[in-house]
C-alpha cells in the first residue's frame, strides 16, 4: 500500500470514528438526515443520567440488578474469550465472537420476560445467557456436532440462523401467533418476540418484508438491530444512507437509537419497547449503536479493513468499564466483587472446556433421523444403503449409529 492509498483509506476511515453524543456521524458521513437523539444513561465516565421517557425504566434497577448486569457482561465476555481460545486450539470449527456487544445483548436480554420469545442471528451469546441457556449448548454447532444445539422451547430462545435476516419474518409470524393466542385465551400473559439482526442484515429484503408484515398486523415484535458497524468487512455506511433507527418511520412505528454500549440505557429502552409491543400497540425498532471489537468470525482478519485507531476510539466506550466505574463510584461494588467474578469466570471457562471436549460426535446415521417428521421412503432406502456399505468394511472406523 503506497502513501496515496493510505491517505485515501484514512479519509474514508475518519467517517467511521465514533459519532458525537447525539449519535450523528462525523465528517464524510453518508448520513443524509440526523439520527434521533441517542438514548444514553451512563456516560463513558460512568456517570448515571436518568432522564427522558425511559428514565423510569432505569430507575427501577436496584443495586443487585446493576451488579447482575455487570456480572452477565463479565461472564459472557469470559465465555467469548474461552470459545475463541477453543477455536484457536482446533476444538471448534469456527467461532463468532461478540466482544464489545455485551451492553446491547445483556441490556436487551434482561428486559425480557419468560413468556417472550427470542429469534437470534448467530452472535447473540449474551442474550442466550439471559435466557438461562446452558452456555456449552451454544458451542455444539461450532464444535461440529449439531446444526442446532438446544431445544428452543426450553428457554424461549430460537436456534441460531446463518442465512442473514431469515429469522426476522419468523419472529413476526410467531408474534402474530402470540397475539392470536391471547385473543383466544385472554388469561395468557401478554408476550412479544424480539428479532435480533445486524446492520448488514438490515439490507436484506427479509427485514423489509418482516417490518411490513409487523406493521400491517400490529404484531408484538421488537426489532433489535445491533449496529456493530461492520458486516464482515463492509461498513454501515454502505448499508444505509440514513441512521437505521430512522427507517422505522417509513413503516409507521417507533424507531429508537440507543447507545448499545450503555447496558442501562439498552435495558430501559428495550423494556419500554417490549411493553409497547405486548400491550398491542405494535412493533418497535431499536438500533443499538455499538461496535464489534473483535473479528466477524475466527476466519476473519479485521486488520485488513479497519484501522486500529478506530478500535481504540471505541475502547473508551467499553460497556464493562463504564458500568464498573459507576458501580465503584456509587459504592455498589468493591474489589472483592470484581475479584469474585474473575474466579467465577475461570471456573465457568474450565467447565465449558470440559463440556466441549466431552461432546461426542453423532453417528453419521443420525443425520437421517430428523430430515422428515414422518417416515419417508427415500430416507429409509439411503439409510439402508449406507448401513450396507459401512458393514462391508472389516473394521469400520466410524460408528454408523
Amino acid at each position: 500500500m503506497d502513501l496515496k492509498d493510505l491517505a485515501v483509506r484514512a479519509e474514508a476511515d475518519s467517517s467511521r470514528l465514533p459519532e458525537d453524543e447525539a449519535g450523528n456521524a462525523g465528517r464524510g458521513s453518508l448520513d443524509r438526515e440526523a439520527a434521533p437523539e441517542m438514548v444514553q444513561m451512563l456516560s463513558p465516565e460512568g456517570e448515571l443520567l436518568l432522564h427522558g421517557p425511559y428514565g423510569a425504566y432505569a430507575a427501577e434497577l436496584g443495586a443487585e440488578e446493576l451488579r447482575g448486569l455487570y456480572r452477565d457482561m463479565f461472564t459472557i465476555r469470559r465465555f467469548d474469550q474461552e470459545a475463541t481460545a477453543l477455536q484457536r486450539q482446533g476444538e471448534l470449527v469456527m467461532w463468532v465472537p461478540m466482544t464489545g456487544q455485551e451492553g446491547a445483548q445483556i441490556g436487551s436480554g434482561r428486559a425480557l420476560q419468560p413468556q417472550d420469545y427470542v429469534f437470534p442471528t448467530y452472535r447473540e451469546h449474551g442474550v442466550a445467557l439471559t435466557r438461562g441457556l446452558e452456555l456449552s449448548s451454544l458451542l455444539r454447532r461450532f464444535r461440529g456436532v449439531s446444526h442446532g444445539g438446544w431445544n428452543p422451547a426450553e428457554a424461549n430462545f430460537h436456534l441460531y440462523t446463518l442465512v442473514l435476516a431469515a429469522q426476522v419474518p419468523h419472529a413476526v409470524g410467531y408474534a402474530m401467533g402470540m397475539a392470536r393466542d391471547r385473543k383466544m385465551d385472554p388469561q395468557l400473559p401478554e408476550a412479544a418476540t424480539v428479532a435480533y439482526f445486524g446492520d448488514g442484515a438490515s439490507s436484506e429484503g427479509d427485514v423489509h418484508e418482516a417490518m411490513v408484515f409487523a406493521a400491517s398486523y400490529d404484531a408484538p415484535v421488537v426489532f433489535f438491530c445491533q449496529n456493530n458497524h461492520w458486516a464482515i468487512s463492509v461498513p454501515t455506511e454502505v448499508q444505509s444512507r440514513i441512521p437505521l433507527a430512522n427507517r422505522a418511520k417509513g413503516y409507521g412505528f417507533p424507531g429508537i437509537r440507543v447507545d448499545g454500549n450503555d447496558v442501562i440505557a439498552v435495558r430501559a429502552v428495550t423494556s419500554w419497547a417490549l411493553e409497547h409491543a405486548r400491550s398491542g400497540k405494535g412493533p418497535v425498532l431499536i438500533e443499538a449503536f455499538t461496535y464489534r471489537m473483535s473479528a466477524h468470525t475466527t476466519a476473519d482478519d479485521p486488520t485488513k479493513y479497519r484501522l486500529s485507531a478506530d478500535e481504540e476510539a471505541w475502547i473508551s466506550r467499553d460497556p464493562l468499564s463504564r458500568l464498573e466505574k459507576h458501580l465503584r463510584a456509587a459504592g455498589l461494588a468493591d474489589d472483592e466483587f470484581f475479584e469474585g467474578l474473575e474466579a467465577d469466570g475461570q471456573a465457568m471457562a474450565d467447565k465449558l472446556r470440559e463440556d466441549v471436549l466431552g461432546m461426542s460426535s453423532p453417528g453419521f446415521a443420525d443425520a437421517f433421523t430428523d430430515v422428515y417428521a414422518e417416515a419417508h421412503p427415500l430416507i429409509q432406502e439411503e439409510l439402508e444403503f449406507h448401513r450396507r456399505y459401512e458393514a462391508g468394511f472389516a473394521d469400520p472406523e466410524e460408528p454408523t449409529e
Binding site: G148, V212, H376
Partner: protein, 324 residues
C-alpha cells in the same frame, strides 16, 4: 359423491381443513374478497373471517417467513403463491428455513406449513405464469411435494397436506382447475405419497403427473388403435416418489416413458429413468424416454403448444421405444 371442478374441490378441501382445526389459517395475496386469482379460495373469507383467510402484503418471502413463525407457534398456515414464477422471492425461506427446521432442531421443532402453487402452462399467459419449478424443490430434503391431477385427489391431498407433520408444497395444475370429476367426500384417496395406476396395460408404461395425466391417458387411448396396450401411472407425489409402483409397472410392460412440462434436463423424469435403470434394468426392452420441456425459458404464449408435451409427442416417444 358429487361432481366438481378441481378448483372447487380444493376450495372444499380447504374449507374442511378450516372447519376441522381452528388453528388452520390461509395466507396469500388476493385470497380474501377476490377469492384468489383462480377463485380457489372463493367464499372462505366470508365464512371464516379475515383473521383466518388473510390477504397478506404482496411479499412472498414475508408470506412464507411469517407462516414459519406462525407454525412454530402451533398454527397451521396454508400459503397461496399466486403463480409458479412468483415463488422465487420465497425460495430462500422454503429451502433454507422451512425445509430444515425439523432437522436443524434435531426434531424438537416442526414447521408444518403448506404452500399451494398453481403451476404449469397451457393457459396462454405471459412470462412467469406457466412454469414448472417442482424439481427445484424436490431436490431439497425436508420438503414433501404433491400434485393432484383430478378433483378427487385435489380434494383429499390438500387436506392430507394440512395434517402432515412435514412442510408440503402442493403444485396445482392450473390448466386443470376447470376439469370436472367425481369427488367422494367420504372416502379418502389413500396414501397421498403413493402413485396410482390409472390405466392398466401390458406393452409400455407412461408416468405422468399433474397437468399431463389427462394427456397421458389420451395418448394411451390413441395407442390402442395401433394395437398397443399402455399402462398409465399418475405419480401424484413428487417427493417422495413411489418408485415401487413405477418399477412394478415397468417389470410388467418393459418400456417406460416419463413426461412432465418442466425442462427435461435435470428434471424429475431423469430421476425416475435413473432409478428404473438401477432397479429394473433387465426388464427394460428399450431405454427410458423422457418427454418434457426444452432447456429454455418457458416460451411465449403464441408458441407454447410447440413446447408442451402433447399426445403427438407421447405417441412419437412410444414409437421410438417400440423401435428397439
Amino acid at each position: 359423491m358429487s361432481t366438481m371442478t378441481m378448483a372447487k374441490a380444493i376450495n372444499a378441501g380447504l374449507r374442511a381443513g378450516l372447519e376441522q382445526n381452528p388453528k388452520t389459517l390461509l395466507m396469500g395475496e388476493d385470497i380474501g374478497d377476490l377469492g384468489g386469482v383462480y377463485r380457489v379460495t372463493e367464499g372462505l373469507k366470508a365464512d371464516f373471517g379475515a383473521d383466518r383467510v388473510m390477504d397478506t402484503p404482496l411479499a412472498e418471502s414475508g408470506i412464507i417467513g411469517t407462516a414459519i413463525g406462525l407454525a412454530l407457534r402451533g398454527y397451521r398456515p396454508v400459503c397461496e403463491i399466486q403463480f409458479d414464477g412468483f415463488v422465487f422471492p420465497g425460495f430462500n425461506q422454503i429451502t433454507t428455513q422451512l425445509a430444515k427446521m425439523h432437522s436443524r432442531s434435531e426434531g424438537t421443532l416442526s414447521a408444518p406449513v403448506v404452500i399451494r402453487i398453481p403451476y404449469g402452462g397451457g393457459i396462454g399467459s405471459i412470462e412467469h405464469h406457466s412454469e414448472s419449478p417442482e424439481a427445484l424443490f424436490a431436490h431439497t430434503a425436508g420438503l414433501r411435494i404433491l400434485t393432484p391431477s383430478n378433483p378427487q385427489d385435489a380434494y383429499w391431498m390438500i387436506q392430507q397436506a394440512m395434517t402432515c407433520l412435514d412442510p408440503v408444497i402442493v403444485f396445482e395444475p392450473k390448466r386443470r382447475y376447470w376439469l370436472k370429476g367425481d369427488v367422494d367426500t367420504e372416502k379418502p384417496s389413500g396414501d397421498p405419497f403413493a402413485a396410482h395406476v390409472l390405466r392398466e396395460g401390458t406393452d409400455a408404461t407412461i408416468v405422468a403427473y399433474g397437468p399431463l395425466v389427462p394427456v397421458a391417458l389420451a395418448a394411451a387411448k390413441a395407442a390402442e388403435d395401433d394395437g398397443r396396450s399402455i399402462e398409465v401411472v399418475d405419480l401424484r407425489s413428487i417427493s417422495p416418489i413411489d418408485f415401487d409402483t413405477i418399477t412394478d409397472s415397468v417389470r410388467k410392460t418393459g418400456r417406460l416413458i416419463v413426461t412432465h412440462e418442466a425442462p427435461t434436463f435435470g428434471g424429475i423424469g431423469g430421476e425416475i429413468a435413473a432409478r428404473v435403470a438401477e432397479r429394473a434394468f433387465l426388464s427394460l426392452e428399450a431405454p427410458v424416454i423422457r418427454v418434457g420441456g426444452f432447456h429454455m425459458p418457458y416460451p411465449v404464449a403464441k408458441v407454447e403448444e410447440h413446447y408442451l408435451p402433447d399426445i403427438d409427442k407421447l405417441m412419437d416417444a412410444l414409437d421410438r421405444s417400440f423401435a428397439y
